[in-house]
C-alpha cells in the first residue's frame, strides 16, 4: 500500500531557534495521527509545514495525488498546491473564526470550496451545503444565518462541513476541540470519529489534550523542542511510554 503522505527530514528554524527538526513519518490511507506536546514543542510549526502554510527549510512532504501519484508538495507550483489545499486537503483551525468567513452565510461558507473548483449551479451548491450542514448536525433552517449567530461548537462543526464538502482525503486539525465546553467537545469528537470512519479520511491532529488523541488517533507522535521523541500506537504510547518526557507528560494528566 502506498502511504498517503510521506514526510522525510522536515525541518524549520526561526533564525537560530528550532521550530521542528528532522521529522519523518508515513501516514497511510484511513489513519489518524495525533501529534502531542506542550506549547512551543513545534507541533503547530510541523502541522503548518505539512499543510503548505509555512515553508520549511528542508525535507520532503510527498502526497499521493489522485492524478499523478506521489508528488513532493514542497516543490509543487503554488497553483497546484492551492488546488490540493481546496480539494484533497482540509485544514480545521482551533479558532473557527480563522477557518470561516464570518460575514458569509453558513451555506456560502460550505459552498465556497465547491465554487472554487468550478461548481456553477446555485441549486446544486445549496443542496450540497444543506446536506453537509445536516451531517454536522446543523439544521437546514440555519443555512442562511451567518456564523456570528452560531455557538462556538456550531461554528466548529460548520468549519468541518466547509472543509469536508469537497471530499478531501487528508485533514489537518489544529486543536479542533480547544476552547470548547467539555460536553460540546464530546459531541464534536464523536462527529469527527464518524466522519473519519465513514469517509475513510486520513487525519493529522495536533493537540495537547491526551484524552482527545486517545479517542481519535490511531497513532501518536510526541514532540519536544522541535524533535519527535517517541511515536507508536496511541494506546501503547499513552499506557507504556518509553521516553522520559512522555512518561512525565502522561503522568501529569489529572485523572478524572
Amino acid at each position: 500500500m502506498t502511504p498517503l503522505l510521506t514526510v522525510r527530514d522536515l525541518s524549520k528554524t526561526y533564525g537560530g531557534r528550532i521550530g521542528c527538526a528532522d521529522v519523518s513519518f508515513d501516514l497511510y490511507p484511513g489513519e489518524v495521527l495525533g501529534i502531542v506536546g506542550e506549547s512551543g514543542s513545534g507541533k503547530s510549526t510541523l502541522l503548518n509545514c505539512l499543510a503548505g502554510q509555512l515553508v520549511p527549510d528542508g525535507g520532503q512532504v510527498v502526497f499521493d495525488t489522485r492524478a499523478d501519484g506521489p508528488r513532493d508538495t514542497l516543490i509543487m507550483s503554488e497553483p497546484e498546491r492551492r488546488m490540493l489545499a481546496r480539494t484533497d486537503w482540509a485544514f480545521v483551525h482551533q479558532n473557527a473564526r480563522d477557518g470561516l468567513r464570518m460575514g458569509v452565510s453558513a451555506g456560502g461558507n460550505v459552498g465556497e470550496r465547491l465554487m472554487a473548483v468550478g461548481a456553477r449551479n446555485y441549486g446544486d451548491i445549496r443542496s450540497a451545503a444543506i446536506d453537509w450542514l445536516g451531517r454536522v448536525e446543523i439544521t437546514e433552517d440555519r443555512v442562511d444565518d451567518r456564523p456570528t449567530a452560531f455557538s462556538g461548537g456550531m461554528q466548529q462543526r460548520l468549519q468541518i462541513a466547509r472543509n469536508l464538502v469537497t471530499g478531501p482525503r487528508l485533514v489537518f486539525m489544529d486543536e479542533p476541540t480547544g476552547g470548547l465546553d467539555v460536553s460540546v467537545q464530546a459531541r464534536l469528537l464523536d462527529l469527527l470519529r464518524g466522519l473519519v470512519r465513514d469517509m475513510g479520511l486520513s487525519a493529522i491532529i495536533v493537540t495537547h489534550d491526551l484524552a482527545v488523541v486517545r479517542l481519535l488517533a490511531d497513532r501518536l507522535m510526541v514532540m519536544k523542542s522541535g524533535q519527535v521523541i517517541e511515536q507508536g500506537l496511541t494506546d501503547q504510547v499513552l499506557d507504556d511510554p518509553q521516553a522520559p518526557y512522555t512518561q512525565l507528560l502522561v503522568s501529569s494528566v489529572l485523572q478524572v
Binding site: P79, G108, D144
Partner: protein, 290 residues
C-alpha cells in the same frame, strides 16, 4: 489654448509612463497594471484616474466627449471637459458619434461605439475582490492563480438573501476566460456592451491602477447556470423619447410622489427626440421648437 500648461496638462514623461501602463493593460486584458498616479488639480473621486488616461491618449486632432452618469451637463462632466478645453485645446462635443475619445463615469453610451473610438472609464475601486478579501497581497495572488471561488460566494450570498443576484452595478465580469474584472460602477444593464469595437481603458487614480479591454474582447458577466445574468433595467419606456431599450434614470418631479423615467444618456435621448420619437411626458414645447 493656455500656454502655461504642456499639452493635456501632464508632462510628456508622465504621459509616456501612463501609455506604457495602457499598452500593458491592452496586452493583458483585465489585468490591473500599477502606475505612478500623479496629483491632479481635482480631488480623488472626481475622475483623476480617467483624466490621466485621457490626457495620455489625447492628440490635438481628437474630439472629446465627457459624460457623468450618461449626462454631458453635470458638474463632473462639465469640469473635466473644460479642463481639457483649457489644457489641451481639443475640440469637445456632446455627440457620441462625433467623439474620438469619451471619458465616462458610471455609464457606457447607448450608441454603439466604433473602432475609431476610445472609451475611458473613471474607476473608484479597481479590485473586484476588495470587499471580499481586504488584503492586496492576497487578491493579487488570487488573480495570479485564478482563485476566483470567492467571487461566486458573493453572488451566492445575493441569491440566498434576495432570491436573485442583487448586484445592480459594478457587476463582476470575466475577461477572455482569465481575469475577473470590475467594470467600474456601470449599471449591469451596460455589461453586454463591454464587448465593443472601441478600445476601453479604465483608470483608478487613487488606487494607481490602469486596466483595459482591447476591441472585441470577450467579456462574460459572472452568474450561475440556474440564475443566469440578467441585464435588467427599470420596466418603463423613456418619458421623453419613448425608448424601451435604454437605461433610465428616475427623476422625482414634485413632492407629491410624482416621478418620471428618462434616458440616462442625454445625447442619445435628445437625438431620438430630434428624430421624432416621443414619450408620454415629452413637452409639447419641444415639438414647437423642432
Amino acid at each position: 489654448m493656455s500656454q502655461e500648461y504642456n499639452f493635456a496638462y501632464l508632462d510628456e514623461q508622465t504621459k509616456r509612463m501612463i501609455r506604457r501602463a495602457i499598452l500593458k493593460g491592452l496586452a493583458i486584458p483585465g489585468y490591473q497594471v500599477p502606475f505612478a498616479s500623479r496629483e491632479m488639480p481635482m480631488p480623488y473621486g472626481w475622475g483623476t484616474g480617467g483624466v490621466q488616461v485621457t490626457a495620455a491618449c489625447l492628440t490635438p486632432a481628437d474630439t472629446l466627449k465627457v459624460i457623468d452618469q450618461g449626462a454631458d451637463d453635470t458638474t463632473n462632466a462639465v469640469s473635466i471637459r473644460k479642463f481639457f478645453e483649457r489644457t489641451a485645446g481639443v475640440a469637445t462635443t456632446e455627440s457620441t458619434r462625433d467623439a474620438t475619445v469619451i471619458q465616462t463615469r458610471h455609464r457606457i453610451p447607448e450608441e454603439p461605439l466604433t473602432e475609431d473610438q476610445i472609451l475611458v472609464y473613471q474607476v473608484p475601486i479597481p479590485e473586484p475582490l476588495r470587499f471580499l478579501e481586504p488584503r492586496e497581497t492576497e487578491t493579487r495572488v488570487m488573480h495570479a492563480l485564478e482563485d476566483y471561488g470567492l467571487m461566486h460566494v458573493k453572488l451566492y450570498e445575493d441569491i440566498a438573501r434576495n432570491g436573485e443576484i442583487a448586484t445592480a452595478y459594478a457587476y463582476p465580469v470575466k475577461v477572455e476566460e482569465r481575469y475577473v474584472m470590475d467594470p467600474s460602477p456601470i449599471p449591469k444593464f451596460d455589461n453586454p456592451r463591454l464587448e465593443s469595437a472601441a478600445i476601453q481603458l479604465f483608470g483608478a487614480g487613487r488606487e494607481q491602477r490602469i486596466y483595459a479591454l482591447p476591441p472585441y474582447t470577450q467579456v462574460v458577466s459572472l452568474d450561475f447556470e440556474d440564475h443566469p445574468f440578467n441585464p435588467s433595467k427599470a420596466d418603463h419606456p423613456c418619458a421623453l423619447c419613448g425608448a424601451d431599450h435604454t437605461y433610465l434614470d428616475e427623476v422625482i418631479t414634485d413632492d407629491q410622489g410624482g416621478r418620471m423615467f428618462v434616458c440616462s444618456d442625454t445625447d442619445y435621448c435628445s437625438r431620438r427626440q430630434a428624430d421624432g420619437h416621443r414619450g408620454d411626458m415629452a413637452p409639447p414645447v419641444l415639438e414647437a421648437l423642432s
